[in-house]
Amino acid sequence: MADAFKDYLHIPKSFLLKVKENTPESKLKSVLKALDEEYSEMKVVPGESVGLVAAESLGEPSTQMTLNTFHFAGVAEMNITMGLPRIIEVLDGRKNLTTPMMDIYLNKPYSQGQEIKKIALSIKETRLQDVATEISINLSDSRVEVTVDESRLAEIGMTKQGLVTALKGEVKGLSVDLRKDFISFKVKNKEESVNNIFKMKEKIKAIVVKGIKGISQVLPVKRGNEFIIITAGSNLKKILLLPFVDTTRTISNNIFEIEDVLGIEAARQAAIDEVYKVIENQGLNVDIRHLMLVADVMCNSGKVRGITRYGTVKEKVSVLARASFETPIRHLIDASLYGETDNLKSVVENVMLNQPVPVGTGMLKLVTKPEEKKAK
């Protein structure tokens, strides 16, 4: 690197590297000077209310969003929560999404379409009730009898025998037998009450016999020049264990799952991506840095927290600020129990007290020191 760069090392490297390498020394100085000026222009000034600006920048476009939601009618596409409801879902930090989804990228040669349908189907969860024609309770022998549809079994590439072995692995404390017409489930060693048999039946119905739990639908599609599998329902942990999955790119839309499997930094990025996807989809224009700030606030404790009264708002230092946002009495009473002190350091409290808010011009306190009288 040329000497000229030395004075400009405070500029991030990624910007400096963009300066053309063969720039002549004479020009380099002015280029760097211009770059420095541009860079300092872009920097956020101390005292700027970045949070509020981010909130406004996200809030204003979302008011326009509610009305123009687009629907994919008729197409063999899955129904996805988009638009404002999805943004609220992400920012609130909801754990149970209305439409959990995954984009599964594949390794070669599967990514070129080889056996794509077969792979997709192998992921899809099949519950016992999906292959059964009848599930009945035999009260006299206190057992549950399941009649299996063989043609449907063949569809997912399983035999009756294979089914029984799969079931044996899934259930605990039950004996599974293959009889002539049906599969029988019976509690080992003891008589069961009728009530428990009914509960058992419901459990047995939902046993996953094949595929991965939580993946309710699969859809192989071509994205760019490779095949990927889009799923309804998500289970990142188990999908990533599969040999044909490209673990570097496969992603779920469930931020908490990502936090669990890949860590908080990945979750932060996922939150940004999820919100940005909606905004882009709506044809709106929001600077990504606003989203980054929001995601930072959600993740800075090391765990994902939603922007709700149970999440980030709870962590606010000021009692009055917390009380001004939902359930004020609870916050006040708690504060009085613990004898909390409000130091009036943020915006809301100072608005309440009619004091200058500590942002922008109100951040500074200028004091003049009167000239001391010289002793004569």
Binding site: I329, L332, M352, G360, M363
Partner: protein
């Protein structure tokens, strides 16, 4: 097997539902069953619903049998001779009323020519599909559905001639149009309801063009000369009522000019219009603060000696006076008594309402707009034949709203006005645009309604021809005079010391949460503080216990009620914060303020 429900309750089953339904209908038509019963056969879920409950919307249709309507020429002839009435037709089973459910089973033909063997009913008139006000929109079928809706809603808000006996009525909030006209373009409904007896609009000459930007964003430009000739002129009537109430203990209100000793006496000037009986005289021009009816009431609480000396000193002033920003002329004064026999005074005030900038006008197609400019007659554009438009309407309101009927009414009105006849604009059976154009052509005008116009200021011809014609316009009751509001200083609320709310109370304009955020976002802290200074106070705070202390104005000294020995410092806070501290104390929370030097 089909289930039968009577009024939503299961009553039994039938094996041949269609036969059953037909039988019920036959019984109804002959009058053996009430004519208000409706039967709906839902084939898909195999159900027959018989409904006789109140609150169903029903509409009349002509019954058709084997492709022939039961209403014959004979019926019509006798109807015209007045030998037969509507209810006779219903009784004879010629016309029946269907509710929304039974309509599902009906196959209704629109016109007689379209009748087939399968038809069960015939529409009486296409108009019957719509409600009353919607039927008053001409060429409805050329408009977008949404605008038909707003168009009919607007008609309910129009100034008009609502009742011929308005002069002796005492209605709240009455608007009257001085020169109402019958519309040139009308529908069948206008004749049915005798619209000419209570019209609510005027036929105006409308030019569709821009005018110096004063009619952008739905505004309209009005010809000042037209206003002077009576366009949209109206009166606004409002009653003021006072009653001589009786209270327990034989005390009564007294309607008279209040004595100067009375509590709350305004000023002699305010009572100047009152005659000896304490009531204002007709045709007095009153304004803000003037008393219309003088009244005094007995004191609210009687205590001690007051009971025995009911002199005027103890009575309260309770006159009816003009409120802030109101003015008008006293129209009628009525002295009467109410049901309880109390003396009742009703004074009707009248106010002239000449169209001004900001008043709302609309055509019958939901094309509402506000007056943007009033142009002197001489400066308005004019046509070659010297016609000067009353209103200039902006063409930008047309494409997105798709109110084609607005445009058609303009040519139709033009043709009608020139030919001296009414034009029929009934839904689905209106005169055709083609015929109207032909007629316009024969009257010596361009068939597409455009004309060469000249700039009123320069006299130069416009480079394009202007679409100009006659339309029925309505003046809506929303007038700036009733809405204009501003405040610099004014009344405050007792509890919070913040400005009052609303125009009637001369209230402030709220700077809300989101507006506050914009100040914060700009970092304009000091400006924000100043905006919220409306309830600022300086309070003494005890340095020891941190509670609000007391300032003794007489001794010029502050002290704390809890710890009298300690001294207090002064802080400037909003009064509402002092209030919330008090509320904390009510919650048994001790809000302790720690005072620190600012620097």
């Amino acid at each position: 097997m089909t289930d039968v429900y009577l009024g939503g309750k299961f009553v039994g089953t039938v094996d041949e539902p269609q036969k059953f339904v037909d039988y019920l209908k036959e019984q109804r038509r002959t009058g053996l069953l009430s004519r208000e019963v409706n039967v709906y056969h839902n084939v898909e879920v195999a159900e027959v619903n018989v409904e006789a409950f109140k609150g169903r919307v029903r509409r009349p249709l002509i019954i058709v049998k084997d492709g022939v309507p039961l209403l014959t020429e004979e019926h019509i002839r006798r109807l015209q001779k007045n030998e037969l009435s509507w209810s006779d037709l219903v009784k004879q089973g010629v016309i029946e009323y269907l509710d929304a459910a039974e309509e599902e089973n009906a196959y209704v033909a629109f016109f007689e020519e379209e009748l087939t063997k399968e038809n069960t009913h015939l529409e009486i008139a296409p108009l019957a599909m719509f409600g009353l006000t919607t039927s008053l929109v001409p060429f409805t079928n050329y408009n977008s559905a949404q605008k038909v809706n707003t168009g009919s809603k607007n008609q309910k808000q129009a100034l008009g001639f609502y009742a011929a006996n308005y002069a002796v009525r005492m209605d709240m909030d009455v608007n009257l149009l001085h020169y109402p006209q019958n519309p040139v373009v009308k529908s069948l409904m206008h004749d049915i309801v005798e619209y000419g007896k209570h019209p609510s609009g005027q036929n105006l000459i409308v030019a569709v063009m821009s005018y110096k930007g004063y009619n952008m964003e739905d505004a309209i430009v009005i010809n000042k000369g037209s206003i002077e000739r009576g366009l949209g002129r109206g009166s606004y009537y409002r009653p003021m009522i006072a009653e001589e109430l009786r209270y327990s203990g034989g005390l009564v209100d007294e309607i008279s000019i209040p004595d100067k000793e009375v509590k709350g006496y305004k000023s002699e000037h305010d009572y100047r219009f009152l005659e000896e009986d304490g009531i204002i005289y007709p045709e007095a021009m009153v304004a803000e603060g003037d008393v219309v009816i003088g009244k005094t009431s007995p004191p609210r609480f009687l205590s001690g000696m007051e009971q025995y000396s009911l002199s005027s000193e103890t009575r309260r002033e309770s006159s009816v006076a003009m409120q802030h920003g109101e003015e008008g002329i006293v129209d009628t004064v009525i002295l009467t008594e109410n049901a309880e026999g109390n003396k009742l005074i009703q004074v009707k005030l009248r106010d002239n309402r000449t169209p001004e900038v900001g008043d709302k006008f609309t055509s019958r197609h939901g094309q509402k707009g506000v007056v943007g400019l009033i142009v002197p007659h001489a400066d308005m554009p004019f046509t070659a034949s010297g016609i000067v438009p009353d209103i200039i309407f902006s063409p930008h309101g047309i494409p997105t709203r798709m109110t084609m009927a607005h445009l058609i009414e303009l040519v139709a009105g033009k043709a009608g006005a020139l030919a001296g006849r009414y034009v029929d604009g009934s839904v689905f059976s209106s005169e055709s645009e083609k015929d109207i154009r032909k007629e316009l052509l024969s009257l010596g005008f361009r068939d597409n309604g455009v004309e060469t116009m000249y700039d009123g200021e320069t006299g130069e011809a416009f480079k394009v021809r202007i679409y100009v014609g006659s339309m029925y316009y309505l003046r809506l009751k929303h007038m700036v005079a009733n809405k204009i509001h501003s405040r610099a200083r004014g009344p405050i609320q007792l509890l919070t010391r913040q400005p009052t709310e609303g125009r009637a109370k001369e209230g402030g304009l709220r700077l809300g949460e989101m507006e506050k955020d914009t100040f914060v976002a700009h970092g304009a802290s000091m400006l924000l503080k100043e905006r919220f200074d409306s309830d600022k106070t300086t309070v003494p705070v005890c340095n020891n216990c941190g509670l609000i202390a007391v300032y003794d104005e007489y001794k010029k000294r502050s002290y704390c009620m809890v710890c009298p020995e300690s001294d207090a410092g002064f802080v400037e806070i909003s009064y509402s914060f002092k209030l919330i501290l008090d509320e904390f104390k009510n919650l048994c929370i001790y809000p302790k303020l720690k005072l620190v030097n600012k620097y």
